[in-house]
């Protein structure tokens, strides 16, 4: 009974809190640019509006066009449920759940690309191709980060991996994971979430033909993915397991807010990279995680 209540509570948390983060990012960007900007809750309004709207399907699209976003959303939500929430711990943490998390995100990627390719549009094909290709490097960086945590704690369960303090490599890990966060969530400098219909985009271009409830599901899934990466980043770097309950909760929330503000600042201060530079930056992220891994390897017994 408790487990079911917990699942519902956590699911509600993911559902309700996630759309807040893009709002904060936009607010930060507006603040840096000296504008008022959209309200923080703008994404909630957008989602509510889209949920009521009708759907225009491409004449070429199969039912997979709608199924894809749904499965991707489920995959991201399940990955979110697997992630322990700092002091609240994991829902059912077990050995090897870190890998399930990574591969659930991959499932989401497959389904999004599938849905993008449904329309036969060259734009969306381009976006899908970029998404799946850059993910190769991002996934290498992510697995190196997970491996460094695993070596440091001797465990492959997220609850154990994320609780102790990171080793001397924490700074490297933070930088690497932050870069992966930017890439996986299609933020500047990898992608520009503001542009629509440009040849220089990854994620936004994949959802060009989506509308109505499927688009709402895609946007909400993207917000959850952003929150997932922010949480993962904070928990991997901060020693939450050694703090008391309220401090840890405060540190977690503060950390997520800080990384969200960080994304906003990066987006305000940096320009988008040229596409041929993207692999270079991702390789840098991979190398950062790799050095964190080497430090963990050389660093003796760990926590």
């Amino acid at each position: 009974m408790m487990t079911i209540l917990q699942i519902i509570a956590r699911l509600a948390l993911w559902l309700l809190v996630a759309p807040l983060l893009p709002g904060i990012i936009n607010k930060v960007k507006a603040w840096v640019a000296g504008r008022r900007g959209p309200p923080v809750l703008q994404l909630y309004y957008d989602l509510a509006r889209l949920w009521r709207k009708g759907v225009v399907l491409s004449t070429l699209a199969s039912p997979g066009f709608v199924i894809g976003p749904a499965v991707a959303w489920v995959a991201v939500a399940s990955a979110g449920l697997l992630l322990p929430l700092g002091p609240a711990g994991g829902l059912f943490g077990f050995r090897g759940d870190a890998l399930i998390l990574i591969y659930l995100l991959a499932l989401a990627r497959f389904c999004t690309s599938w849905a993008a390719m449904e329309t036969g549009s060259a734009f969306e094909g381009m976006g899908a191709a970029r998404e799946v290709s850059y993910a190769v490097l991002a996934e290498a960086a992510l697995i190196a980060a997970v491996l460094s945590l695993c070596i440091q704690t001797g465990s492959t369960s997220l609850v154990t991996m994320l609780s102790p303090s990171a080793s001397a490599g924490a700074v490297l890990l933070a930088a690497g994971l932050f870069t992966v966060l930017l890439a996986e969530n299609c933020r500047v400098p990898f992608d520009d979430p503001n542009t629509h219909l440009e040849l220089t985009m990854i994620h936004e271009v994949m959802v060009l033909d989506h509308s109505g409830p499927p688009l709402a599901v895609i946007l909400h899934g993207a917000a959850m993915k952003l929150m997932l990466f922010a949480l993962l980043l904070v928990e991997a770097v901060l020693p939450l397991g050694k703090l008391t309950w309220p401090t840890a909760a405060g540190a977690l929330v503060g950390g997520v807010l800080a990384s969200t503000v960080g994304i906003g600042l990066v987006e305000s201060l940096l320009a988008r990279l040229a596409f041929r530079r993207v692999p270079l930056l991702l390789t840098t992220a991979f190398l950062l995680c790799l050095f964190a891994l080497l430090i963990a390897w050389k660093g003796g017994g760990g926590a």
Binding site: S62, L107, G120, S133, A140
Partner: protein, 647 residues
């Protein structure tokens, strides 16, 4: 009934399939299915009880008594053989029917029984001589099946390449078994781990079985043979036949004393093969060639598991070795299931459209909804994504590698690159199959042939459904499959016997089931919600361009170009480009081809050198008697000089 009796019945029905097959197609199918069922039941009984079955004949065959052994390991491969063999026989009944292929279908049925029979012999024989005989028969039957459609030139070329490569491997195996028999004093096979003097033989074994398994630099025959064979033959080749190589590797690495270096070599070759194999697959434009290269990748994953297991045995049977081996063995089944499903799907596409070129297909989901959705399911499984079976075995291999890395034994730290390479392989496999399934089945039809496609028949669909069911069952209930896998692990190394899974497979299954159910629920909810809000069909958004054509779609080549570009040094793509010229360009073409680099850039130049050297040597033989007498004289003088000058 005892396993022996069932196996005898299976062998008899397959043997009578050879005789009756050419004439009576229905009887043939019944006989093959009966044989497969018999073998399956007996193998499952062994996996269930864990008691190996052994039988020695009183009579001699070729001077040696027949010795059959069905233990956990051979039962695992026998299950694979009987399931894939049976299912693709059902498919073949409709796919390669007498009406369509009156010349080759009858012979194909006889060879099919022969192939199943000889592969069964390979996994059962426990006598080196008989093993070799079965191995050779299996190679030959597979050759005749690959070249069923031998009026086509590329089919003959692929067949010859397969035959030549296989025999290069078989030579190593002849040497291996011969030397083994010479050193142990008999052809009988069995565990001989304590005889350290046999260690050097493992390299012969590795090469010989590696060729058949498609281990990375030895995989040269695999792409063309799998692509050009009839699809049901490609299925059994990649689902089962290359696994015979894996069977040999696993079997004899369990029986022989293996140096630790061999573990490292297998691990490194596996990791490289997985990454490079999928890079090659990504760059292909031929659907079946893509699937064939993907087999190289999956063999790589299996070898990573096996190599890690060998490292584990060298370190006092560390528990992570068992995990990796279990993952590798489960991947043998999983790859058999999803790759066969994909090859059958590709066969249906070929059957319906007459082409394997992905750039000529597209939009097939409309005409072939079953094939499209089953191929999509197979694509998810082969990319190793939850909630299907591919993920389960990759997860086990990953856990073995992670545990090895976190055991912090200094020398094992080198498995870390393998983990990163495995992750990149997974992401590339996703890219590769996102490309294959969407370019072929989604979007608009690129050619007339694709527009006139039709769904495949009931038997073909049924066999694909059966394999998709296998992918689902292993994916959703992985814990049910631990006992049989652990029997096989136990047969490999008794020190690792355990019936309780060392990892939370039940929880993994729970997550997989939850994800699957939630995905179905949310998908149907979203579909109904969209319907309720009002569905409207409209043209795909194309910047307001008024006359879109199907040629404006993204192509497979462009889809893969980013990631394939990173591997251009390996793939060496050949491009013929005619740029548009002038004010009003009329035509422009770009043809890109990815050669089999190892074969065309390494082996062919090497063999040309050998041929040139042989041609030069042949000049010595010209038929002039006086010169021959001179040779003899020169030889005599040289020999006497040797004798005189000897100190």
């Amino acid at each position: 009934m005892t396993p022996g009796l069932l196996l005898l019945l299976a062998a008899l029905s397959l043997a009578s399939g050879i005789v009756t097959g050419p004439r009576l197609a229905r009887t043939w199918l019944a006989l093959v299915l009966a044989g497969a069922a018999g073998a399956l039941i007996s193998a499952w009984a062994v996996l269930e009880s864990g008691a190996p079955w052994e039988w020695r004949s009183g009579f001699h065959l070729g001077g040696e008594p027949l010795h059959l052994r069905l233990d956990g390991l051979s039962a695992l491969f026998l299950v694979l053989l009987s399931v894939i063999g049976g299912v693709s026989a059902v498919y073949a009944r409709q796919y390669w029917s007498d009406e369509r292929y009156p010349d080759s279908a009858p012979a194909g049925r006889a060879w099919w029984c022969g192939l199943m029979l000889s592969m069964g012999g390979v996994v059962l024989c426990s006598n080196g001589l008989h093993f070799l005989i079965a191995w050779e028969l299996f190679t030959l039957c597979a050759f005749f099946l690959i070249t069923l459609d031998r009026r086509r030139r590329e089919v003959r070329a692929a067949g010859w390449l397969y035959l030549a490569a296989s025999h290069a491997g078989t030579i190593c195996l002849f040497a291996f078994f011969g030397m083994l028999a010479a050193r142990t004093g008999g052809w009988d096979l069995g565990p001989m781990r304590d005889r350290a003097e046999l260690q050097p033989l493992c390299w012969l074994m590795l090469t010989g079985f590696g060729v058949k398994a498609g281990m990375f630099p030895l995989h040269i025959w695999l792409p063309s043979a799998h692509a050009n064979a009839p699809s049901h033959v490609s299925t059994i080749m990649s689902g089962v036949a290359i696994k015979m190589g894996i069977y040999g590797l696993v079997r004899f690495s369990g029986w022989l004393p293996m140096p630790e270096t061999a573990g490292w070599v297998i691990l490194v070759l596996g990791a490289i093969g997985a990454l490079f194999g999928i890079a090659f697959a990504l760059a292909q434009s031929d659907l079946k060639r893509l699937l064939a290269y993907c087999s190289v990748e999956n063999i790589g994953i299996i070898l990573i598991g096996l190599g890690t297991a060998l490292l584990g045995t060298a370190r006092d049977h560390a528990p992570w070795g068992r995990l990796a081996l279990a993952g590798a063995l489960l991947h043998v089944w999983n790859h058999g299931a999803f790759k066969s499903l994909l090859f059958l799907g590709a066969g249906s596409v070929l059957h319906a459209t007459g082409t394997r070129e992905m750039s000529r297909l597209g939009g097939l989901w409309r005409a072939m909804p079953w094939t499209a959705s089953l191929f999509g399911l197979g694509a998810v499984a082969v990319s190793g994504l939850p909630p299907l079976n591919g993920f389960v075995s990759e997860w086990l291999v990953y856990l073995g590698l992670f545990d090895a890395a976190s055991s912090r034994a200094a020398s094992v730290g080198a498995v870390m690159p393998a983990i990163v390479m495995l992750a990149m392989t997974g992401a590339l496999a996703l890219a590769c199959f996102a490309k294959a399934s969407t370019i072929v089945f989604l979007g608009a039809c690129r050619t007339q042939a694709a527009a006139q496609a039709h769904e495949c028949g009931t038997l073909m669909r049924g066999s694909m459904l059966a394999l998709a069911g296998a992918c689902l069952v292993i994916g959703l209930g992985p814990v049910l499959f631990w006992p049989p896998i652990s029997r096989a692990v136990e047969a490999w190394s008794p020190a690792w016997a355990s019936t309780v899974p060392p990892v939370p497979l039940a929880k993994l299954g729970l997550v997989q089931v939850t994800v699957a159910l939630a995905a179905c629920a949310v998908a149907s909810w979203l579909w109904r919600k969209s319907r309720a809000n009002g569905l409207r069909r409209g043209l795909t958004w194309d910047c307001g361009y008024a006359g879109p054509t199907v040629r404006m779609q993204y192509t497979g080549g462009s889809f893969a170009s980013i990631a394939a570009g990173w591997f251009a040094w390996l793939l060496q793509p050949q491009r013929v480009l005619r740029r548009p010229r002038g004010l009003l360009p009329t035509d422009a073409t770009c043809i890109e081809r990815v050669p089999e680099t190892i074969l065309e850039r390494v082996l062919t130049p090497l063999s040309q050198i050998v041929m040139r050297a042989s041609a030069a040597t042949r000049r010595l033989q010209h038929g002039r008697l006086s010169a021959y007498i001179l040779y003899v004289l020169a030889g005599l003088i040289a020999m006497s000089l040797c004798v005189v000058l000897r100190p």
